[in-house]
Structures are given as structure tokens and as C-alpha cells.
């Protein structure tokens, strides 16, 4: 559901006054995008669910600072990206101090596994037998972190300038990230543009 920035501002003003229904409408418009970004970046649905909750609670607390200059979805995705980056930093620290060696989630993919490995062979037959979500995961692994963030945000229908604002990066750099992501994903997913 796409809603205009003016409408976002009206709803945000109502939410500032404590109107939960207004906030729920805003949440509906961005919930899938927030969860998708968190899920694709953390590669863990449980963590993504936590990040989604934290994101919207944070948005509720700071809704007064939303000025309507960008759509609410872009504003809330910025919060999500910051939370995902914090999650990555903490994961990295945990991995460095080896506290996650005896994790209770053995199927969870750790951070070092998400770093693209160009030398890893991916036989075509094995690739075709994978289901769609596994193909997506492998395709994402072929991207650098910045390319991945830009590609996921672009997949939510955001404009280049909005992605640039969220990632605090120049628009030209975002275009370059998307160009590379497009090429690698199309190659990996075997789909033409």
C-alpha cells in the first residue's frame, strides 16, 4: 500500500498525539519492507522479527521528529538499517570473542558465512534443486554488503535518492551498487533484465 508523504505527515501528527490507529496505518504501509530488509540482512527470521519490533517501537517514540520530507516507509527503513548494522556489529564482536561457539541455534548462519566467497563452486545441478528462498540467499551472498543493502531497498520500490538518504551515500554510488547488484543477481538467478 503506497500512501503520499502528506498523508504520512497527517498520520504521524495524529500518532504524536497518541493515536495508535494512525500509527497502525503507517505500520501496515511499511511492515513488509521493514521485515524484508531485516530478514535479508540478518538471514534469521527470529532476529528479523525482533528488529522489526524494535524499529516500530523506536519509530513510535520518535514520531515527533518525523517531518514528512521523505515517505514514512523510507524514514522507518533508515531506522531498520541502523538496527541491522548494530546487530551485525554485535554479532561480529560475539564471534570475535567466541561466545557464540555453543549457540543454541545450530542452523543459524553466522556472519562469516554471509561474506561472499568467489572461490566457492556452485554446480548448476545442485543450484537448480534449491528452492527459491535458498536461491535468493545464495544470490545475496554474491553481493557485497552495500550492494545487498541497496538491492533490498530498491526491491521495496524506493527511489535512488531515498536509498541514498537512508544509506547516507551519494546517489552516483548507489547507482553503481545497483548496477553491480543487477548484474550479479541476474547472473545468479538466471533471469534476464
Amino acid at each position: 500500500m503506497e500512501i503520499s508523504t502528506d498523508r504520512d505527515q497527517e498520520l504521524a501528527t495524529a500518532a504524536t498525539g497518541g493515536d495508535r490507529n494512525a500509527f497502525e496505518i503507517l505500520m501496515r504501509s511499511s511492515q513488509q519492507a521493514v521485515f524484508s530488509l531485516a530478514c535479508r540482512l540478518t538471514k534469521n527470521e527470529s532476529e528479523a522479527d525482533d528488529i522489526t519490533q524494535e524499529t516500530f517501537i523506536s519509530a513510535w517514540k520518535h514520531i515527533g521528529s518525523f517531518r514528512g520530507e521523505i515517505p514514512f516507509k523510507a524514514w522507518v527503513l533508515k531506522i531498520t538499517l541502523n538496527k541491522c548494522r548494530s546487530f551485525w556489529r554485535w554479532s561480529n564482536i560475539r564471534r570475535l570473542v567466541s561466545l557464540d561457539q555453543d549457540t543454541d541455534r545450530p542452523d543459524e548462519q553466522s556472519l562469516h558465512e554471509t561474506i561472499p566467497d568467489k572461490n566457492l563452486p556452485q554446480p548448476d545441478k545442485a543450484f537448480e534443486s534449491l528452492d527459491h528462498s535458498e536461491k535468493i540467499t545464495r544470490a545475496l551472498n554474491a553481493l557485497s554488503l552495500k550492494q545487498r543493502e541497496a538491492a533490498i531497498l530498491r526491491g521495496q520500490g524506493l527511489e535512488i535518492r531515498e536509498i541514498a538518504a537512508i544509506m547516507k551515500t551519494a546517489q552516483g554510488t548507489i547507482k553503481a551498487h545497483l548496477f553491480e547488484a543487477r548484474r550479479k543477481l541476474a547472473l545468479t538467478l538466471r533471469e534476464g533484465l
Binding site: T16, G17, G18, R20, F23, E24, M27, R28, Q31, Q32, A33, F35, S36, C39, R40, A48, D49, T52, Q53, F56, I57, W60, K61, I63, G64, H132, I136, L140, A151, I152, R154, G155, Q156, G157, E159, I160, L178, A181, R182, L185, A186, L189, E191, L193
Partner: protein
Amino acid sequence: MKPEKKDNDLNLFGQLRVEKPEAFWSAQRARILAKLPERRNALRGLPAWTLAPAFAAAFLLVMAWFAQKQPTTPSMPEAEVQMLENLDMLSEMDILQKIPEQELI
């Protein structure tokens, strides 16, 4: 960016969206809404200067209250007034007694 390019991007990068049934999104929203903290008051988020008139009015009220509480000179009890009047009369009587009788005639 041209519209067809954006459409192509949505076709390709749109595959990165996570699809879930509506029940999943509803349950997640319900959990989040239940965890939202209550607003302390409806004034949160307003610029600080909007509170200035309220502070000024409160200040004036406090000043007015203090002014009313200023100590006043306590009124004299009725018995004391009566006693003073009697003393005055006595002193006047003394004066009369000291005047020679001849002068009074």
C-alpha cells in the same frame, strides 16, 4: 531513472521481498502494538516555546498567591481598646483634678 528501468528493478530486486501470509503480518502488528509504551501526555513533541504562555500564567498565579499571604497588622482585641480608653479617661481626670478649683469656676 526511466519507468521501464524501475519496473525491471522491481522485477529483479522485488524477489528479495519476504512474502508471508496476512495472518503473520496481523500477529506481528498485534505484538508490536501491545508493546508500544503509553504517551505520557499529548504535549510531547510540541516545541518548547508553545509552553511559554502556560508557564507565564502559572508564575502570575503563584505571585498573586504570595501577595495574598503577606502578613497584615493584627487587629487589637476589643478588651485592650476598652482598657486604653479607660486609661485616657483616667489621665484626663487627673488633669481636671490638678486644675485649681477657682480656675474651673
